[in-house]
Homo-oligomer: 299 residues x 2
C-alpha cells in the first residue's frame, strides 16, 4: 500500500458511521433475513448460487455464541423454505472462538449438524492470523464428524502451503482467498505479486490432491490463472466454483457465469455491518473519496 | 534504472569517502579480522552460518596476490580457532586474475588446499563480465583437484544458462545471484523481470542436476519462487541454503531462519572498503539522499 493510501486508511475510524453505511450499501444485503433471502433469490435467478453470512464477529459474551447459532438456524430454515441455492458461511469468533474453544466447538457442532439435516453445506470463514490455528483445530473436529463442512485459507500467509498439505490429506473442501486482514511481515507476504503467485501454487496443490475449491477472488489475473490451471489439469466442472462478494464487480460475475462456470456469491446481512464495511472500504480504490467526504462532513 | 537514478549513480565518484564510509557501515564488519570474527559469531548465535570476504579486488602488483592469500590463511585459522560456522569467499582479481592467470591458479590452489586442511569450503566469487571466462577456467582447474570449492553465477548474463549446463555436469556447488555489475546489453539482460525469471530457470536447472545451491538474493519474490521450487521439486534441506549480505534486510534473514532454512550471511571486512561500498550504494533506494549529502558537503 502506498503512503497516501496508508494515511487514508488510518483515518477510516474517524469517518462517520452514516458515510461508512452509505458506502457499504451495495456490499450488504440488508439488516434482516428477508433482505438476504431476496438478494439470494436475485443471484439464483441470475444463475449464481450463494453463501449466507450473518454479520458479526468477536463476541464478548458466551450467550452471544448460541444466539448467533440460532440466527443461523433461521437462515437454514429460510434456505429450505425458499428453496434457495445457498449454503452458509460462519465466523468462529462469532461463536466463541476467543472466549472458550470448547464452547465454540459445541456451538459449531450443533450448527453443522442442523445444517446437515437441512442438506446445507457450512463454510468456516478464516479471520485474522490470531485465529488461524484454532479455526483449523475446530474445522478438523467438525470434519471428523460431518461431511458438510469446509474451510478457508489465505494465500497471503506463509504457513498456508503447509496447512493445505496437511488438510488436503483429509480431502478438505477449500475456499481459497488472498486474505484481507493486514498481517505482520514475519508471517505474511506483502508483495501483491507474491500473494498472487502463491495463490496459484496453492490452487494447483489443491487440484492435484483432488480437493474441491471455491476460487474466491475478484482479481482478473487470478481468474485467468485459475481458468488456465483448470484447463491444463483437466479439472472437472464439479471440482471447483468461483466465489465473489455481493456488490463487487458484477460484470465479472456475469462474465464467469456466462462462460458456464459455477459461481457463488457471498451475501452478508444483519445489523453488525460496521467491521465488514470497514474491510470493504480498506480494499476499495475509491476509498480516498469516501474518507474525504466523511471528514468534510458531506454526509 | 530510471534516468534520475542513473544521474545520481553517475555522481557517486564525487561523493566524499567519509560519506561513503558512513553509509556502508552496516554492510561491512569492520577493518580488522577481529571485527569479522565478532560479526560471524553474532550471526552464528542467530542461527545463520557465514562466509568471510576479505575486501579487495583488481590488484596491480603480483606480490599482492600472495599477500591476499596470506590474509585468507589467517581467516582460516580464525575460523578454526573460534569454531565459527563459516567458509570463505574469494575474488580472483584480488589474486592476480588480471595480471597472470598462471600465478592466479597457483595462489588459489595453495589457498584452496589450505582451506581443505582446515575443513573449510571456498566460494569463488564472480566479478564483472571481463572476468567470467577466466574465473570459470580457474574454478574448473580447482574442481579437478579439490572438492571444497564452488563458484558463483549471475542470472543477468545471457551466457549463464550455458555455463550452468556445462558446470552442472561436474556436480558443481553454485551460488546463484542476479549480478550487481552493470554489463553491456549484448551480453546481459536489463529488464528486472527477465533477470528474475532467468534466476528461477537457472535454479530449476541446478536442482534438476542435483547440484547444491546458495540462493543469494534479498528479493522477496525470488525467495518465494525458490521456496515454491524447493517444494515442487522436493529438494532436500541439504540441497540448498539461502544467502544474504551482512546488513541487508535483517528482518527477512530472521524470517527465513525461523522457517527452518539454512542461511549464510556474507561478511566482508578489511581496509579496502571503497569499491564494495560503492556497489552497495548503487543498489540502495535511498542513494539519492546520501549522494546529495555528499555533494552539499554535509559530511
Amino acid at each position: 500500500m502506498n503512503p497516501l493510501n496508508r494515511l487514508v486508511v488510518a483515518t477510516i475510524p474517524f469517518v462517520p458511521r452514516s458515510i461508512v453505511r452509505r458506502f457499504s450499501a451495495p456490499y450488504i444485503a440488508g439488516a434482516e433475513l428477508g433482505d438476504a433471502v431476496r438478494a439470494v433469490g436475485e443471484m439464483n435467478r441470475e444463475g449464481a448460487c450463494a453463501t449466507l453470512d450473518v454479520l458479526g464477529e468477536y463476541i464478548t459474551k458466551q450467550e452471544e455464541a448460541w444466539a448467533a447459532a440460532r440466527v443461523y438456524k433461521e437462515v437454514l430454515d429460510a434456505i429450505v423454505a425458499n428453496r434457495l441455492d445457498a449454503n452458509i458461511s460462519i465466523k468462529l469468533t462469532q461463536m466463541g472462538l476467543k472466549l472458550d474453544l470448547a464452547l465454540c466447538r459445541e456451538v459449531v457442532a450443533w450448527l453443522v449438524g442442523e445444517a446437515r439435516q437441512h442438506g446445507v453445506f457450512v463454510r468456516i470463514d478464516m479471520e485474522d492470523s490470531t485465529c488461524t490455528t484454532d479455526t483449523i483445530t475446530v474445522f478438523r473436529a467438525m470434519k471428523e464428524e460431518f461431511d458438510n463442512v469446509g474451510i478457508v485459507v489465505q494465500s497471503c500467509l506463509r504457513r498456508t502451503l503447509a496447512d493445505v498439505q496437511a488438510l488436503a490429506a483429509l480431502k478438505t473442501s477449500f475456499r481459497l482467498c488472498k486474505g484481507i486482514y493486514v498481517e505482520p511481515r514475519p508471517i505474511s507476504w506483502r508483495d501483491p505479486e507474491i500473494i498472487r503467485s502463491n495463490y496459484v501454487l496453492l490452487l494447483e496443490e489443491m487440484f492435484r490432491a483432488g480437493c474441491r475449491v471455491g476460487i474466491a477472488t475478484h482479481d482478473a489475473r487470478l481468474v485467468w490463472s485459475a481458468l488456465a490451471l483448470i484447463h491444463r489439469m483437466g479439472v472437472p466442472p464439479d471440482g471447483y466454483e468461483f466465489q465473489m462478494l455481493l456488490g463487487v464487480d458484477p460484470e465479472l460475475r456475469r462474465i464467469i457465469l456466462k462462460e458456464g462456470h459455477r459461481l457463488r456469491v457471498y451475501v452478508p446481512f444483519g445489523r453488525h455491518w460496521y467491521a465488514y464495511s470497514v474491510r470493504r472500504l480498506k480494499e476499495n480504490p475509491e476509498i480516498a473519496g469516501y474518507v474525504l467526504k466523511g471528514l468534510l462532513g458531506r454526509a
